[in-house]
């Protein structure tokens, strides 16, 4: 299957004027919260040229029962981030620009594409207090990347957000010298939450001074402060990663104090109690995966289809899981969820380490999500917060069970309206990345990034049949005639 899609990808990758394509679908999520029944969508030159009610004609591509959505937009991911982008010697690396450094050949992008993600915000890592500038990219397309490739075609917005990290991540591993002589840089950087905030404040105050100096025509230049200044002028949104509730409160306080014109919260794992303040401050939130204890999320999480998918790459299959001691995995019709016994849970973790990570099993995540609940997206949505969902590291493994669409499904399972869930993985994150008028919706003039799902995209057993990016089919899983 993967081979097939890889081949199709190669064919489709050639940039050429494409034949117009007509898709006739039974159901269509526009992406802005609207749903249409029986629609015909016409694509030409990588754009959507027509969206109208209608039924299938002979030349139209049609799969019975399938649903069309805009290509999914991952509002917060770490695809292609690692190695070359992890600069740890300083706590502030504001001028680090991910667009120049991210590995666009990373297999993560193919994983994402396979699960319907056609564009994504790439976030700098959370190791530094001010990590750098994130980029908004398409997950495929442009020229095939090689040593001399120009990535420009895939990078839609090279300055889509400035990463500021609050909480435990930037101080993790740092320690106080305690009077000992040491040359380790880890003995210098912040080692408390408080110190992290102090560094944020310090550098933004410097940036304010820097801006004053610039106004006075003083000959100053500082690459990092340039970036902060441009964020203060509102040219780059400031994306603050804050998980614990008090980190979220700190972010709101800093916004006011430092005059951040455009702040977006990332992860916000414990923010549901603060919906009111977030709405008042007009702060959008991009949630990471629901970080929860093993039993509450994983145990009730994976559905039969997911479990099959999870088991299929390895030699163990679900039937076999039943055969082992304590084989009490049982399927609940009502919730569509499997209740797993301990052995199966252990198997899950052997099979899918990333799965566990997405569910908060990495130590850092767990300690920063004391009050977390998988219902958080639904609660924020209900509180009126501009909510998007992000896959975080979920696409960085070949296993796709925690992918972006899974976050949306989980949000729906915990109470979010389906149309909102789709909006939170399409039009809303596109808007946050400054691309709201170009992608994230099925509307005339928008990029022809589309996903045709075998059923309702939010149903646990549906999968992408077609993934179309810039008008070209990049993933084709249609049943063979």
């Amino acid at each position: 299957m993967i081979l097939v899609s890889a081949l199709t990808l190669l064919c489709a990758a050639a940039p050429a004027a494409q034949e117009p394509m007509t898709l006739a679908v039974d159901r269509l999520y526009v992406g802005d919260g609207e749903v249409m029944e029986n629609a015909v969508v016409i694509l030409a030159d990588g754009k959507i040229v027509s969206v109208a009610p209608g039924i299938a004609s002979d030349d139209a591509t049609h799969v019975a029962g399938a649903t069309l959505t805009p290509g999914l937009v991952d509002g917060f991911s770490f695809m292609g981030v690692g190695g070359a982008t992890l600069e740890e010697s300083r706590e502030v690396t504001a001028s680090l620009q991910l667009a120049h450094l991210a590995d666009l050949d990373s297999p993560s992008f193919q994983n994402a594409l396979d699960m319907g993600v056609t564009s994504a915000y790439l976030s700098p890592d959370s190791l530094n207090v001010i990590g750098g500038i994130g980029a908004f990219v398409k997950t495929s397309g442009g020229t095939p990347a090689n040593l001399f490739a120009d990535n420009a075609a895939r990078v839609l917005n090279p300055r889509a957000g400035l990463k500021v990290t609050l909480g435990g991540d930037p101080s993790r591993g740092n320690y106080t010298p305690g009077g000992q002589f040491t040359t380790s840089f880890n003995a210098r950087r912040p080692n408390t939450r408080m110190g992290t905030v102090w560094i944020v404040r310090r550098d933004f105050y410097r940036a304010h001074d820097y801006m004053k100096a610039l106004e006075q025509g003083l000959p100053v230049y500082d690459a990092d402060l340039e970036v902060l200044a441009s964020a203060l002028r509102g040219e780059i949104p400031i994306r603050v990663q804050a998980r614990r509730s008090h980190d979220v409160e700190t972010a709101l306080r800093l916004q006011k104090e430092l005059g951040w014109p455009n702040m977006i919260l990332e992860e916000a794992t414990e923010s549901h109690a603060l919906a009111k303040q977030l709405v008042e401050a007009k702060v959008p939130v991009v949630c990471g995966p629901a970080y929860d204890s093993l039993r509450r999320s994983v145990a009730t999480g994976p559905t039969s289809a997911e479990l099959h998918a999870l088991a299929s790459p390895a030699q163990v299959c679900c039937e076999e899981l039943h055969d082992h001691d304590g084989g009490d995995n049982h399927f609940t019709e009502e919730t569509g969820a499997f209740q797993l016994n301990q052995f199966s849970l252990d198997m899950l973790f052997v099979l899918a380490p990333r799965y566990s990570s997405a569910y908060g099993f990495a130590a850092g995540r767990r300690t920063e999500g004391r009050g977390s609940t998988p219902a958080m997206p639904a609660l924020l949505q209900a509180g009126g917060v501009n909510l998007s969902l992000g896959g975080a590291e979920s696409h960085d493994q070949a296993l796709t069970e925690s992918s972006l669409i899974h976050q949306a499904r989980s949000a729906v399972r915990w109470g979010m309206a389906p149309a909102d869930a789709i909006a939170s993985i399409t039009s809303r994150p596109a808007e946050l990345c400054g691309m709201g008028d170009q992608l994230g919706q099925i509307a005339v003039g928008y990029d022809a990034d589309l996903v045709l799902w075998s059923g309702d995209p939010l149903a646990a057993d549906s999968k992408p049949l077609l993934v179309i990016l810039d008008g070209a089919i990049v993933v084709d899983n249609r049943p063979q005639e």
């Binding site: 010298p177 305690g178 002589f181 080692n191 408390t192 939450r193 110190g195 102090w198 700190t250 306080r253």
Partner: protein, 364 residues
């Protein structure tokens, strides 16, 4: 009888809207001098004490309480209730560090404080840098952050604790160096921004005179000392002053009984902070009891955990005693709070019942 009384206090104020006037009639109240006064009524309205009198003028719902009503205790300086540590040693001076940024309002420690009759705490960055940053004053319970954080930034914390601020890598390495750095960073901070007071953590008479010297250049500004370590070292520096002291740990506190007595005689008054003590929440109260035994003055000992910390924080108009205009942060004890056999029955913060002791059979 005890049980019904607990229920009364437990249910009555909670069931009533906070705006209504409630007249609390306990067996006795703890007056500011630490003595018990019987037959007094405490009138609360809108989360504040509006009147304390034997026969109050106000009318409202009367609630009979069996026990002793005292103001909630105030912890002068602590690190509990914040996320992990408040020790940021990346630089010798960290004047912009705000304890409020490390504040964790969901921390389990808050409940522990409540159960021990503490209603307000001052959280400070650790005094490990010459200028460690700013403290924050927090109410132990409340509905929102806005209600809880009484003072976002209280005052700057300076430290001349030689052993703590010394650092072979970034300096200073001596008291002289510490004083120099402190001078520099205070100059940078701008003395005007010091509001009207700063706290100096000092551990010997050198520290005291250095602190006095530094603050004398600021002329109009006051400063408060927190006496760390062996009190015997301070000489007469603390005479007639209000000073912060860490709660007594299990260590050698009694060795200095005579020093404590001398200091009390010289007019020094004390305010306890639980940082540097044994870390146990009850240590605030235990320390007050111990001080009472040391100096033979229960009133001064009670003040060290109630009105004095409030004075140290410049908030004695809001917290620390039973006076009209103060926040209705009240604790009902089964006897005088300095009686070790007294237990917390219930706690009101801002006029709302936020804690009720479990029924006697659930105890132990």
């Amino acid at each position: 009888m005890l049980l019904t009384a607990t229920l009364l206090l437990g249910c009555a104020p909670a069931a009533m809207p906070a705006q209504q006037t409630t007249i609390l009639r306990p067996d006795a109240i703890v007056a500011e001098d630490g003595s018990l006064q019987e037959g007094m009524a405490v009138v609360i309205k809108d989360g504040k004490i509006v009147e304390v009198a034997a026969s109050p003028k106000a009318t409202g719902t009367e609630v009979q309480l069996s026990g002793v009503l005292a103001p909630g205790m105030v912890d002068s300086f602590t690190g509990r209730g914040a996320d992990r540590f408040l020790t940021e040693q990346s630089e010798a001076a960290t004047p912009d560090l705000l304890a409020v940024d490390g504040l964790d309002l969901d921390h389990p420690a808050w409940q522990a404080m409540l159960e021990r009759g503490v209603t307000t705490v001052h959280i400070t960055p650790d005094p490990t840098n010459v200028l460690s940053g700013w403290g924050t004053v927090v109410s132990v319970a409340g509905d929102s952050r806005k209600e809880r954080v009484l003072k976002q930034t209280s005052l700057p914390i300076a430290s001349l604790l030689q052993s703590s601020v010394s650092d072979n890598r970034i300096g200073p390495t001596s008291m002289a160096g510490a004083i120099e750095r402190l001078n520099q960073s205070i100059a940078k901070l701008g003395i005007e921004s010091l509001d009207n007071s700063a706290w100096f953590f000092v551990e010997n008479s050198e520290g005291v005179s250095a602190a006095k010297e530094i603050m004398s250049t600021a002329k109009t500004h006051q400063f408060r000392m927190v006496l760390w370590g062996d009190v015997a070292d301070y000489g007469g520096a603390a005479a007639g002053q209000l000073v912060g002291i860490p709660t007594f740990g299990n260590g050698a506190v009694a060795r200095n009984v005579e020093t404590w007595k001398r200091m009390a005689k010289a007019g020094t008054s004390f305010a306890f902070g639980s940082r540097g003590g044994s870390g146990e929440w009850s240590s605030l109260r235990i320390s007050a009891m111990t001080l009472s035994r040391f100096i033979g003055n229960p009133g001064a000992a009670w003040a060290a955990v109630s009105s004095n910390p409030a004075k140290m924080l410049g908030m004695d108009d809001q917290i620390g005693s039973l006076k009209a205009g103060q926040r209705a942060d009240l604790v009902l004890w089964s006897a005088h709070p300095l009686d070790a056999s007294a237990a917390v029955q219930s706690v009101l913060i801002g006029g709302n019942t936020v804690y009720r002791a479990p029924a006697p059979e659930d105890k132990q």
